[in-house]
Symmetry: C2
Subunit: 155 residues, 2 copies
């Protein structure tokens, strides 16, 4: 949990930001929604310093948003999985993405979100535009969108 | 706009966070949704240092999320209003609130969100639980909820 720099705010938004009010934290959670689970994969995806990543993962575990599960004994290695509490952050991540798609993606959405198994696009109200179902985190499938391009530095 | 510390991320979430990936910024935007418009009122609501507030407001204007409008000539005074681009952040603020209500509000939600004119509570899918309408930022009305209490320090 981050410091409470605004102790006097009785507000669920302020409280939520104590857990996820930091950019790397949100990007780590985003990666988890995209299926990333292991330290090295988060590190590669984010290009973040290892000590910063370790700190943010520790906080996310402490906050009950991730759980640490062993996947190897020698040497001991752990992976990080979203808990139910973490999965509940899906609308936060999704709404940030939708805003970015509309206002900061001149080449179109880098990523399309589809209703898994149905294929319909998911609209701003987290509802499948094809079948009308309200979708939850586990029912969303991400696909590359028209705005996705590998930057020159990575090519 | 914040620094791009992750230039190589082709991602609408990362892009959105360049605009709003900072706690004070999100709380300023929250206050704007609650009707705050003037510098002194933001300052009073947030208890934030004036130079920090001025900096964040400047960035929000520069990012096209707020617009500055004169409301007084002598001395010149301005108020800050959400633009359409800013109003589009409503689902982000709303989803943070819903997460906080569920996971960080032991006394219940500090704030209830109702469908203006209808009175129905707004569910997790930004839909009125009474009439079924999908609501936008302008159709949401905030009311004090059971979790609202004035902390001792402010009483």
């Amino acid at each position: 949990m981050l410091n409470r720099t605004y102790e006097n705010q009785v507000c669920s938004i302020a409280r939520a930001l104590e857990f996820v009010g930091e950019r790397w934290t949100i990007l780590i959670v985003r990666d988890a929604f995209l299926g990333v689970r292991r330290f090295d994969d988060f590190q590669r995806s984010l290009g973040i310093a290892r000590n910063v990543l370790a700190d943010r993962l520790d906080r996310l575990v402490e906050a009950g948003i991730f759980e640490r599960r062993p996947y190897q004994d020698r040497p001991p290695r752990y992976e990080y999985r979203l808990t139910e509490r973490g999965l509940d952050l899906h609308p936060v991540i999704f709404s940030l993405m939708k805003w970015g798609d509309k206002h900061a993606a001149p080449n179109g959405p880098p990523r399309l979100t589809l209703h898994r198994g149905c294929g319909g696009e998911i609209d701003d109200y987290l509802t499948c535009s094809k079948c009308g179902a309200r979708v939850t985190a586990r029912q969303v499938e991400a696909r590359p969108g028209p705005g996705l391009e590998v930057p020159a530095a990575q090519a």
